[in-house]
């Protein structure tokens, strides 16, 4: 038998499991309602094909008011009167229904976001359900959260989530909020509302009391209304540093609690004694997982100079086996960029990288005709002063820098306004521990990357934000110590 290339035939996941309505209203007080007169409507699009998936509502001021009132009423009259055990039951129910409808959620997430079905199916949906299972267990154990024996919830919380992991970010926000006894008004990202709207169906299926969870779709303006509303006790935001700063300014002096999970420019440090093949996997996963749309992406490779050429060569060979294309194909590794706007940003920053004098290398893959696509790209000959070493690209673009000594690696890794995550690759345990001690990053991975768990607190230092999500620490922003006022 002659040598041939092993071609993988198309292995598409079926779309028939999802039933997308032609249009959606808002989910307020346990029911679907049309937007008020000051609301508008906009399309949500499949970024892999540019087809319109549905028309959704951008909530106006009256809608946001309505949602917050519903949340307040539900808090005062129902949710705060329930025992922790009973709140936990609703959360367990939601978690179970999410798992039962896992395929539906995964397909919908891929259609709306553009990420490969392999990722939605194997990572996003199971991890989202896991967060609900985990925090369901906390609901009746709040006296062990570290805020004394009678901590109480903040009340009504406003939550704004990004488009990169729509369902997972929803789970990170809603699960601890509800477990702690708060009620929620959540605004999903403009380009990825659909799994949040399906989640609203799950709330109905779980017979969650009306008003405990409210989903108001919309854009930045809807978010601003939510942030500025006086009857919201706490805001949780995940998104860009720029918007995070605006929210912090807006909330200052209002008495509202605030947690921010913002951007990053994580360094993936590869020492000369790293397990090379596994380090290559970690680098690739660090920057190309989810098309690089990850706040904690390893977007800077800091490689020891003595092995830099070998590592870059191996990286290029490895990237050659990544499959870019239809996100609904089970063998796709790299999906679509989430929106035309994001693609423009990635393209602009990449062009800036070339203009600054860095050397660009892109994977030779055919990009589909329609949709928003960007080939995995590596920049070498990058220095700290380049824009592509400092600014978050939020796309499949890796900046490669070198270092000579461990101290230099640490200095370069920390030399950024961000501080969300970092990776360390070395076979020598003492070096890993020494480095981890000195990195100013909220999450440090050693000989691995992008590992998440509901029990593990996630969040950043410096301009990557403050507050943690996951674990006992993830509960704290949603609670206050002492008796209710």
């Amino acid at each position: 038998m002659a040598n041939q290339i092993f071609e993988y035939a198309a292995a598409p996941e079926s779309r028939t499991v999802v039933d997308i309505a032609p249009s959606y209203g808002l989910f307020i007080d346990g029911d679907w309602v049309d937007g008020g007169t000051d609301s508008t409507r906009f399309d949500t699009v499949n970024p892999a094909t540019e087809e319109v998936l549905s028309e959704v509502t951008a909530a106006g001021p009256a809608d946001v008011e309505r949602a917050i009132s519903a949340a307040r009423k539900a808090y005062d009259q129902v949710w705060s009167t329930l025992s922790g055990t009973d709140r936990g039951k609703y959360l367990f129910r939601i978690a179970r229904i999410m798992q039962e409808r896992a395929r539906e959620f995964a397909v919908l997430e891929t259609l709306d976001n553009g990420k490969p079905i392999k990722e939605s199916r194997d990572f996003d949906v199971p991890t989202a359900a896991a967060h609900f299972f985990y925090y369901a267990g906390w609901a009746d154990k709040l006296e062990y959260a570290g805020l004394g024996s009678t901590p109480h919830p903040r009340g009504v919380v406003g939550q704004i989530i990004p488009w990169n992991f729509p369902l997972l970010m929803l789970a990170w926000k809603i699960a601890p909020a509800l477990a702690a006894g708060n009620t929620v008004v959540l605004k999903p990202a403009e380009t990825t509302p659909l799994t949040a709207l399906l989640f609203a169906e799950v709330c109905q299926q779980a017979e969650l009391p009306p008003g405990v969870v409210n989903i108001v779709t919309g854009d930045g303006e809807t978010g601003r209304l939510l942030v500025e509303h006086p009857d919201v006790n706490k805001i949780a935001f995940t998104g860009s540093t720029e918007v995070g700063k605006a929210i912090a300014r807006s909330v200052a002096g209002s008495g509202k609690g605030l947690t921010l999970e913002l951007g990053g420019k994580a360094a993936n440090i590869v020492y000369d004694d790293a397990p090379i093949d596994e380090a290559i996997e970690g680098i690739v996963n660090g920057i190309f997982f989810n098309q690089g749309h990850v706040c904690c992406a390893g977007s800077r490779l800091l490689v020891q100079e003595s092995i830099a050429d070998d590592v870059v060569a191996r990286l290029q060979r490895r990237i050659g086996t990544l499959r870019l294309g239809d996100p609904m194909d089970k063998n796709t590794d790299v999906g679509a960029i989430n929106s035309a706007a994001q693609l423009a940003r990635v393209t602009e920053l990449t062009a800036a990288g070339e203009a600054e004098g860095a050397t660009r290398w892109s994977a030779a893959c055919a990009l589909p005709e329609r949709g928003y696509w960007f080939a995995p790209t590596i920049f070498t000959n990058v220095s700290q002063a380049h824009r592509i070493a400092q600014q978050e690209v939020f796309g499949p673009v890796l900046a490669v820098l070198t270092f000579r000594t461990p101290a230099e690696a640490v200095a370069k890794a920390n030399n950024t306004p961000y501080g969300l995550s970092a990776g360390i690759w070395s076979d020598k345990g003492s070096r890993v521990l020494w480095t981890a001690d000195r990195l100013r990053a909220g999450v440090v991975w050693a000989n691995t990357f992008n590992k998440f768990d509901p029990t593990s607190p996630f969040g950043g230092y410096k301009e990557s934000g403050y507050g943690r999500e996951g674990g006992r620490h993830g509960l704290l922003p949603y609670l206050m110590s002492g008796a209710s006022t």
Binding site: M1, A2, N3, Q4, I5, F6, E7, Y8, A9, A10, A11, K118, D122, D273, A274, P275, I276, D277, E278, A279, E281, G282, T321, K330, N331, D427, N447, T448
Partner: protein, 332 residues
Amino acid sequence: MSLADTSQTRELAPSTARDVTGTSHLDDASLRRFLHGLPGVDEVGAKARAADLGTRSIKTTSKAWALDLAISMVDLTTLEGADTAGKVQALCAKAVRPDADDPSCPSAGAVCVYNDLVPIAVAALRGTGVKVAAVSTAFPSGRANLAVKLADTADAVAAGADEIDMVIDRGAFLSGRYLQVFEEITAVAAACRANGAKAHLKVILETGELVTYDNVRRASWLAMLAGADFIKTSTGKVPVAATLPVTLVMLEAVRDWRQQTGQIIGVKPAGGIRTAKDALKYLVTVSEVAGADWLSPDRFRFGASTLLNDLLMQRKKLSSGHYTGTDYVTLD
């Protein structure tokens, strides 16, 4: 590059080894410096990569192609004390024509037997293209002196074996006597080419006894330095045989060896691969880690016995649309 080409260069193994390791004199210390200087393998990361490769979805035309390729790569094996001429003949018939109803089904790659049954296999397989592989060097334990091991090999080669599957001395390896392991391999390789013979050499590392992936990497390189044509995971006679992560590490070794020397050395996982689904995961791993040049029976084999029937059942299902059962494939 076919195997016939590599046998020429394999004769220069000691000088190639000195070149590759960058040393003027091969001894335990210099081999140790080289082997222990290879990058480590992170076990968690290697297992994760193997698991990830196992999620590839191989369907329709690519599945049909892969099943046929896998069948052509099977080294159909019987290595039992109770083996007889009758048993070996039945196995050979199966290897030549695995599916009595379907002549389009490829033959297996080889039949693998103990060396005293080689003449039976050679006679049964004459003219069919299916190779005869013999295990040798005091298989499976490798616990005998070099003279005995070489006699074992010479015997099989003289009887007409196309391929010799030798075992390394794991005791020597684990106690750091790398030169001894090296020299035993070069001696066996020489025996494979004595008197005009052109038997090619598979070196069994017995990865289940080496345990760590670092050892697997080092043993792979040592075998390649010493002139192996193929590196093979296991004898199938100890509890832990081939696994996907171990095979992954060995594929990385042959990939890097080719990068450095231009030579292509084959890989054979053996033992514990029972289902077609598993076999396809191995082929995906070969393709994505080493590359398309290894997707051929000259470069990759499965050491298996029950695997062939599962491949046949999957093949029948693809062509007919429904599953048959174990009554519809032969037990040999």
